[in-house]
Symmetry: C2
Subunit: 200 residues, 2 copies
């Protein structure tokens, strides 16, 4: 024990945050105690409220403290019949920032990974199946990550959607805009080549 | 607003922690929500308890939730009449880890910095003066940081201690053990030269 018991607990518990080791936890605790008591108390409260109240949207499974998230609660987002499948709520935020998509989302909260015990059930694919069966969908856009697991998950969901004769697309993978060809890895470059499109 | 209001507040408030920007705050919030709800709730509670209950030790000004810290409450630590002056509670922890010091501490919680409005009063030097006047001290060890402000603070406290005919020492500055001469900066090397000692 290096400090008083309560200070020791605070430093130890701050280390549950990702990327925070003993040294940064100590720095955080001291900074809060020296300069940020009021805002730190507020953070403690918010932490407790958020972890108690935030659950999953009943439609799309993203994080929200309400029954439906803002996007699912907005009838305009259902108009074009597009459903975008992503792995995490952060992916929703990233796609929303492009301002190019106005359909709905379904958030898997992960990807298929049988070795870690994550199968279709853990990703809510039964719920997705219901959604696909009962909705009026024009297109399912697969925006899972371009990793082995993300690709496998995409193929799995594609076969589900095809059962209901829904058009399925996958977001394009290739050379990032502003990137240089010689710095791009081989797999990305081959994706980029095989996914080439006619210049119109 | 990218997420639900409560999740947004959590992500914003996590950014009061030093070294945490929007991206890491988002990662922290998601990790807590997905995998660490129970320990996160505990962290919220500890945060509130710590920021409400932890104050300063009445003797040495370090952080503690009690009236006296463990070191000041231990009569054995007063036996050799040594008083070590440091800038922060983390410095106390660092010196304690050497297991070479068995005296008491006085924690300034900063250093003299007139431009930032930190003068003798903010560092509790009136309290230190009382301590020096009324205690039975054999030696005051100045362990402030080897910076301009730390040195100035050390000189200021040295002159206070000399009023009461107490021996004053400063910790040695020089080449770190395991360091290589050619990689050490010039100022450190000149400290190291001027502070040379006869080999006995």
């Amino acid at each position: 024990m290096k400090f008083s018991p309560l200070l020791d607990s605070l430093i130890r518990e701050l280390q549950i945050l990702p990327g925070v080791g003993p040294k940064s936890a100590q720095r955080m605790a001291f900074q809060l105690l020296e300069r940020e008591r009021k805002r730190g108390l507020q953070l403690g409260q918010t932490l407790q409220r958020a972890l108690t109240e935030i659950g999953h949207c009943q439609h799309c499974r993203t994080f929200t403290e309400n029954t439906l998230c803002d996007i699912c609660a907005n009838p305009k987002r259902a108009e074009n019949g597009q459903l975008c499948i992503v792995e995490t709520p952060a992916d929703v935020a990233a796609i929303e920032q492009t301002h190019l998509y106005s359909g709905r989302y379904f958030v898997l909260m992960g990807h298929l990974s049988p070795l870690d015990g994550i199968g279709p059930k853990e990703l809510g694919l039964d719920q997705l199946d219901n959604l696909l069966k009962n909705g009026d969908w024009q297109e399912v856009i697969l925006a899972t990550n371009p990793t082995i697991e993300g690709d496998a998950t995409a193929f799995y969901i594609a076969s589900m959607a095809k059962q209901y004769q829904i058009k399925v697309t996958r977001i394009a993978h290739g050379v990032p805009v502003g990137g240089e060809l010689e710095l791009v890895d081989g797999t990305t470059l081959s994706h980029s080549l095989s996914g080439r499109r006619p210049l119109e």
